[in-house]
Amino acid sequence: MNSIILATVSRLLTGLLLVFSVFLLLRGHNLPGGGFSGGLVAASAFVLASFASGFPAARRLLVVPPRVIMGFGLVVALVAGLAGNVAGYPFLTGLWDTTLFPVVGKLGTPLFFDVGVYFAVLGVTTLIVFSLGEDSEEED
């Protein structure tokens, strides 16, 4: 698609969407949002970029192949879940730090779990969209 309007707007929107996705990720613990919707919004930023300037450019924008992002997300989520085991509780038990940080609030393993979900969703969605959109034989 060769539209100058789309190309210009997408450059702005991609950054905006990514910031918004992080916002969703962070507010997700007690309010609507979280890793899943944050990841979807982040993925939509890259999908928009791919529509505006093509799939190779969108892949370059993503830097790391989607598959690796997906694997990384799963590993982060797993480690966050295992932290409960290390502390002697069942798997996935949330551990919280009591100090308040600016912007983020209290830190705890559920946040890291959500970060894992965020990357897993981002990886899966971009993998699906890129594979469907590209005609190439080789995936990522």
Binding site: G71, L78, P90
Partner: protein, 504 residues
């Protein structure tokens, strides 16, 4: 870390490792097999922990039941995880020689382990909605395995498989929704208590929704038609693991809900199961008789054998339930084994068509022996596992006092007749593939498969055949587990106390 968590984390970690090392075939194959070995070890530990009759409960996230999601391991769940791990390992080894490099590069092992993750989760969970999620994990991975490779017949089979399973999932979801709306809980132990206060007709209706949802997955009559239409299309390793495990997850789910939650109107619900079991057995075996494709024939036999398991569940006596548990164990091993053998004959002889195969008895006597053991076991010939499985269920129908009156012995007679027809089907394969002289230009040759690959194909088949033989020779040891598991299933208060005991 306890064995319950490990049983879920092992396949997940393996799948993630396979994803991360997607480019390296040797590493993927190594992780693919090593993951199954670890899972097998973990499931033995699980079995050892609950083998004594103790029910193990793990509260994920440390939320108390019935609010959080619990994993509940009773004897049945542990047995199922153990058998799944055995089949998983056999198939992973077999895949080394059977699944081509292209499929491995596209994530075959990753999805095989994701599927095992879903299967183990479905067995271990104590929450009905969580079970739905595990079913989805299992199904979506199985969709991928079904399509992987993208051959035309595969796609045709996959469309039927995917559509029917999605319909079944929506029934499952709707049923969960109704239960939750009525009782305000999704924890199965809690449901078993609160469902008694539901309006009986509403409870029965929900039971019917679950029957349709799980019945589709277990392939019982009249919802079985997707199975023979799709199971013969993917690579042999995939159809073996599907044939062994996936429909049995449906049977397991049926057993769980129809022993724990829906026991208020046994005459109606279990009576219906009884009738369906009869039709399932008969239509499956009749369908198999006219088939000449090795795997399609075996697929129809899955349907027929599911009928026996449902029959045991429907009779609802200690012996019948024990028979069903034993049948599950025996059937998973034997059926996966037969599918794996069909792959070997295809590699040696170049076809799945019984008419184009022949002369194996002379050309490959070892393969003939390895087919003979599971086939005769499926037909129910005495020293093998199938005999004891059928014996327990048929005897339960004839001897036990059930509320179905004369119908129970009648269905036992049907089961015996179906057993005879099963034997007929197996002898048909035997006569066509092994005894008949090879047709012109289709002589089987061991040399069609390189020596190294040959052993990778034969070793898992031989191990499973050995297991069938062991179950058949020492049935008491295995049947004891089935009996104790049936005791737990028929006394839901044990399960309920184990889950809710600490909190209410």
């Amino acid at each position: 870390m306890n064995a319950v968590t490990l049983a879920l984390l092992t396949p997940l970690v393996t799948a993630v490792l396979c994803l991360l090392f997607l480019r390296s075939l040797p590493l993927q194959r190594f992780f693919g097999v090593a993951g199954m070995v670890v899972l097998l070890g973990v499931s033995f530990r699980l079995m050892a922990e609950v083998g004594g009759g103790h029910i193990e409960v793990v509260r994920f996230g440390n939320w108390p039941a019935p609010f959080g999601i619990v994993l509940v391991v009773d004897l049945l769940a542990a047995i199922m995880v153990l058998v799944s791990a055995i089949i998983g390992l056999a198939v992973a080894v077999y895949s080394l020689a059977d699944v081509d490099a292209r499929r491995v590069r596209y994530g075959y092992y990753a999805f095989l382990h994701f599927m095992m993750f879903g299967v183990c989760g479905a067995f271990l969970t104590g929450d009905i909605f969580n079970m739905f999620v595990w079913f989805e994990v299992m199904l979506i991975s199985s969709f991928v395995l079904m399509c992987l490779g993208g051959e035309k017949p595969q796609m045709e089979g996959a469309v039927k498989y995917v559509v029917l399973n999605l319909i079944s999932s929506s029934f499952f979801l709707a049923a969960c929704g109704i239960l939750y709306g009525q009782t305000g809980t999704l924890n199965m132990a809690d449901l078993a208590v609160t469902a008694r206060e539901m309006r009986p007709e509403l409870l029965t209706m929900t039971a019917m929704l679950f029957l349709v949802a799980f019945g589709l997955k277990a392939a019982i009559f009249p919802l079985f038609f997707w199975l023979p239409a799709s199971y013969h299309t993917p690579p042999v390793a995939v159809s073996a693991v599907f044939a062994g495990l996936l429909t049995k997850v449906g049977v397991y789910a049926l057993m769980r809900v129809f022993t724990l939650i829906f026991t208020n109107d046994i005459l109606l619900t279990h009576g219906l199961l009884l009738g369906l079991a009869g039709f399932t057995m008969v239509t499956g075996v009749l369908g198999a008789m006219v088939q000449f494709d090795f795997r399609r024939l075996l697929s129809f036999h899955i349907v027929s054998q599911i009928g026996y398991m449902v029959l045991g569940l429907a009779l609802f006596t200690p012996l019948a339930i024990a028979g069903t548990v034993f049948y599950l164990f025996h059937h998973i091993v034997v059926k996966a084994n037969l599918f794996l053998v069909s792959g070997i004959t295809q590699r040696y002889g170049g076809s799945f068509d019984l008419k184009k195969l022949g002369g194996f008895y002379a050309a490959a006597p070892l393969v003939a022996l390895l087919f003979f053991i599971p086939a005769m076991s499926l037909g129910g010939i005495p020293p093998l596992s199938g005999f004891f499985a059928k014996f327990a269920i048929v005897k339960a129908g004839l001897v036990d006092e059930t509320i179905f009156g004369a119908w129970a012995p009648f269905l036992s007679a049907v089961a015996l007749a179906v057993g005879l027809l099963t034997l007929f089907s197996m002898t048909k394969i035997w006569a066509e593939v092994f005894w008949k002289p090879a047709p012109e230009g289709h002589a089987p040759h061991r040399s069609n498969v390189p020596r190294g690959e040959r052993w990778l194909l034969l070793a898992p088949v031989a191990a499973l055949a050995g297991l069938t033989l062991t179950i058949g020779l020492f049935p008491q040891f295995f049947f004891d587990f089935a009996v104790r598991s049936a005791e737990q299933l028929l006394h839901p208060e044990i399960y309920i106390n184990a889950v809710l005991g600490g909190t209410t």
